[in-house]
């Protein structure tokens, strides 16, 4: 891969996520995608940057806000949209929807609706990988709201105590649902507290995917070399409402000014600027963008035409039979 290809690759991955969500916004009002959408818009750089450094042999876990994680790891827009439409070819056969995506073939193990609930499973996976000596590293993504949950601290403690190959990725968007950090935290800094655990901490407020990639590459190296967990702390801004596809700056708990400040350094904008700087033309980039948009449109049309699961499917897979 030449250098330019690498920069373009990161842009393509972010663009896939952004365009997929733009398509959701466009199609959601027709009420055919009946699943609660927690949109990733704004967090693309973190997910793409971290996943790029983790590499294909890793395992990842996410939250209910995991469109970005699903698409960054799997690139599977077909299964993704079929799941959004509740169709039989959906990634989990229409059993999960937007909040429960997984793609084990590419290491995405689970995403989950209950805040912080995948964190201990990620720690257990890291234990299994250490037990099996397979060299895999686990990346667990969660929001700053998850840090309010007891199980986060239980899990972090266990991972540090057992020196597990895991990277905790805290994506702090400043709000847990609609409540801002200062109304939830009886302490000044998550990072300062976690520095007291037996792990390495890296933090950044950058929305530059390449900066995030470099930081997480350091994290991966640390885990491999020191055999201890890493805690990554990144800030970003959630562009849309907590759940749903709309803006909510008129609701009074946050301001559009705040959004505008972050949107100036929108991860896609930053990477696009870099590509232009590196010599790619505007037309070349637009070609890439429209190819992605077209692919997504095809997936949506395909998903719409695909049948729903048969009635008997409701009883399947409660237990593994065999």
């Amino acid at each position: 891969m030449t250098n330019l290809n690498f920069h373009l690759e990161l842009y393509k991955k972010m663009c896939l996520i952004r365009k997929a969500e733009e398509a959701i916004i466009k199609n959601y009002p027709s009420d055919e995608m009946k699943t609660p959408m927690h949109m990733s818009m704004g967090e693309e750089a973190i997910v793409v940057g971290v996943c790029q450094s983790l590499g294909p042999k890793s395992q990842t876990f996410g939250t209910y806000r995991s469109h970005a994680l699903y698409l960054a790891t799997s690139q599977d827009t077909d299964g993704f949209f079929a799941e959004m439409y509740g169709k039989k070819t959906g990634v989990v056969k229409g059993k999960g929807g937007s909040m429960h995506l997984s793609y084990p073939e590419k290491g995405l193990m689970a995403t989950s609706a209950v805040v912080a609930s995948t964190i201990p499973a990620a720690v257990g996976s890291a234990y299994a990988n250490k037990y099996l000596k397979n060299g895999k590293i686990v990346g667990i993504f969660f929001g700053d709201g998850a840090v309010d949950e007891g199980v986060f601290w239980e899990s972090l403690n266990i991972a540090c105590l057992m020196k597990l190959p895991i990277i905790f990725i805290c994506e702090d968007n400043g709000y847990a649902v609609h409540t801002e950090t200062v109304k939830r935290h009886g302490y000044k800094s998550i990072v300062d507290i976690i520095k007291n655990f037996d792990c390495q901490v890296f933090s950044s407020e950058s929305t530059d995917v390449e900066k995030i990639y470099k930081i997480s590459a350091k994290a991966v190296n640390f885990v491999k070399k020191e055999k201890k967990p890493v805690f990554l702390y990144f800030k970003y801004y959630r562009y849309l409402e907590h759940v749903g596809v709309n803006w909510d700056f008129d609701k009074g708990y946050r301001s559009e000014t705040e959004f505008k400040k972050w949107f100036k350094k929108d991860p896609l904008k930053l990477q696009k600027k870099r590509l232009l700087r590196l010599g790619l033309s505007k037309t070349q980039i637009e070609k890439v963008e429209s190819a992605i948009a077209n692919k997504i449109e095809e997936c949506i049309q395909k998903a719409k035409k695909t049948p729903f699961p048969k009635n008997t499917e409701v009883y399947r897979d409660v237990f593994y039979e065999g």
Partner: protein, 353 residues
């Protein structure tokens, strides 16, 4: 301390220990962990020898983090390991309920069948010597209510051994509930390490006059009652132990009730919305019109469990409760039980634990 090798006569505790040890020898993906699993007491002796034989990678004590440790088991299980997570009291499992009910039970289903969860959660039911209301729950009805969980509650040492082997080999999450009082029961466990199929009820006594379906410790009380009823009244009681609460094999119960026409359910739980209601409903559905008396249910008083022995005796049903209900049901006169010696835990169990 050495883990039990193959044994013929064994206590319930040693039966569990030997089953786990045998499976850990057979399959390197099995490991056991939980609060104080590897301490000097070794979960009442059920994890004796495992640390020494298999090392701390496969047998370890943990921080007091029940929820995280349940999720930890899930994470290990979906990667092909076979974790056994142990809890010294079922009551502590309530701290892990989010993981058990929201994650573990639905993981296979929610992943469209992509992942299996071969996880065993062992938990001990306490009773007596002042256990009070946070050391005495059984919660089997609660767990059996949730789709995606298997719930096992063995009574005999043989069943504890065979069902533990099956639970470990099962590719689904299994809640394995062990009554503390049963630990000292010694019986024939068979010389082999054969699994016992999950989801099969078992007849503990054969009789034609009345059926008793009992769970866990209540089977000991029911058998004692059956013995006395035979001597005092010539009544032949058929005691059936479901052994697994989910899946529940109701056929043996239905067949028995069709024969005896009378049913008592002695559940080791509260009655309200419990397993006893499930059993009763299934029998009513399939034996409608055949019953000679309404189904009788026996269980805990609908209160939190009290500490003092005086009140605890009222809280729990026992063999005498069963005998009196049978007499009422069959229109028998009240037998004099003053010369009978009933089970009392003080003979085995001095505390503090």
């Amino acid at each position: 301390m050495k883990a039990s090798k193959t044994i013929k006569q064994a206590s319930y505790r040693d039966a569990i220990n030997s089953a786990i040890a045998a499976e850990m020898r057979r399959d390197p993906s099995v490991f056991i962990y939980g609060i104080d699993v590897a301490d000097h007491k070794r979960i009442y002796g059920t994890t004796v020898g495992l640390l020494e034989e298999f090392g701390e990678k496969r047998c370890f004590s943990t921080p007091l983090s029940e929820e995280a440790l349940a999720g930890f088991g899930l994470g290990a299980a979906i990667n092909g390991l076979r974790p056994i997570n142990v809890h010294i009291r079922v009551d502590f499992l309530l701290l892990a309920m989010n993981q058990i009910v929201n994650m573990i039970s639905s993981f296979h289903y929610g992943s469209g069948g992509k992942f299996n969860v071969p996880l065993v959660i062992r938990a001990i039911i306490g009773k007596g010597w002042g256990q009070s209301y946070q050391h005495s729950k059984s919660l089997h009805s609660f767990f059996a209510h949730i789709p995606g969980l298997k719930v096992i509650m063995p009574t005999t040492p043989r069943d504890a051994k065979g069902l533990m082997i099956s639970a470990i080999r099962d590719n689904n999450p299994v809640i394995f509930l062990e009554h503390r009082f049963l630990y000292d029961v010694v019986d024939d466990v068979g010389g082999d390490n054969d699994p016992i199929e999950i989801g099969k009820s078992k007849k503990l006594t054969t009789g034609s006059d009345l059926t008793i379906v009992a769970t866990s410790w209540m089977n000991v009380e029911a058998k004692e009652a059956a013995d006395i009823l035979k001597r005092k009244h010539g009544v032949k009681v058929e005691v059936i132990d479901p052994r697994t609460i989910y899946p529940f094999d109701d056929q043996l119960v239905i067949d028995s009730v069709k024969k005896t026409k009378h049913l008592i359910i002695a559940d080791y739980d509260w009655l309200n919305c419990g397993f006893s209601a499930e059993v009763a409903t299934r029998v009513y559905e399939q034996c409608y019109g055949l019953l000679k008396s309404p189904i009788t249910r026996i269980g805990f008083a609908h209160t939190p469990c009290p500490c003092t022995r005086a009140l605890e005796d009222v809280f729990y049903a026992n063999a005498q409760t069963i005998i009196r209900e049978v007499e009422k049901k069959l229109g028998l006169k009240t037998a004099d039980l003053s010369s009978e010696s009933f089970y009392t835990y003080e003979n085995k169990f001095k505390g503090p634990f």
